[in-house]
Subunit: 151 residues, 2 copies
């Protein structure tokens, strides 16, 4: 039987027929006040599109992996670590996070920060920094300050 | 050499380092007042993410194809044909357009209508309706009215 077309309406960054899920299925990695909605995961598509949203003060896991992230900020202002740089982000900004690039998002402006993230459906699992890698990142004062925000 | 991370800032639905392109590279298919920006087309990603925007009164081509579209409305209100149904759309609504489903977007509300569209990087070319197929679609009064809006 042919698949039916489908419109799923949005309601203040929630969507019909989309579950609000934990950010990660396990709690081995540090994160705070962030949730995940899987917007598109279609068997015919090579990528998935997810929406992640942090409450004010929340943050995603500091991590890296082989797979590439294509990100569009959708809601709110905040900051992100992108490799060795800390950048301010605002709605509709685009971020390309290449393979093995450390990254983290933080809702540093007293408001929720939400973003779309496109990834390959088949992808590797993220790696967390070792103590030495974390120290190397924090050798930059800007990064050190970022890592403490909201922590 | 490793690829650098990249932040491309948004400015009123235009993006740094993203060209504003014609909707289609040829003019064999009917469309009106619509432009294309390719936001993500990365060699490691199985999908591309594009942004299409119609001016008020504009419309995309009425077409179908094997490849699936995953769409999020980003700007403005309008209407779309999705198979045999006409639906109103608003910002952040999600549309799944399965294989071989007729579809068209129209900026029917006197404002621009812009949307994200995720597609496989490798995909087939769209087909246009024959006269008979167009007549079959327009047998529905709602579809017939839709196809005349802004035309």
């Amino acid at each position: 039987m042919a698949e039916s077309p489908c419109l799923r309406a949005s309601h203040d960054f929630r969507w019909d027929q989309v579950d609000l899920r934990p950010y990660k299925e396990d709690d081995a990695a540090p994160f705070k006040a962030i949730a995940r909605q899987e917007l598109f995961a279609h068997p015919s598509l090579g990528c998935e599109l997810r929406y992640f949203e942090m409450a004010a003060g929340g943050y995603s896991t500091l991590e890296r992996h082989e797979h590439v992230h294509a990100v569009m900020i959708l809601r709110g202002h905040g900051r992100c670590l992108l490799g060795s740089e800390v950048r301010d982000v605002k709605p509709f900004d685009l971020l390309t996070i290449p393979s093995w690039t450390w990254h983290q998002f933080r809702a540093t402006r007293g408001e929720p920060l939400g973003f779309l993230c496109m990834v390959n459906a088949e992808r590797d699992r993220p790696q967390l920094p070792t103590e030495a890698e974390r120290a190397a990142l924090a050798a930059s004062p800007a990064v050190a300050a970022f890592l403490k925000e909201g922590a």
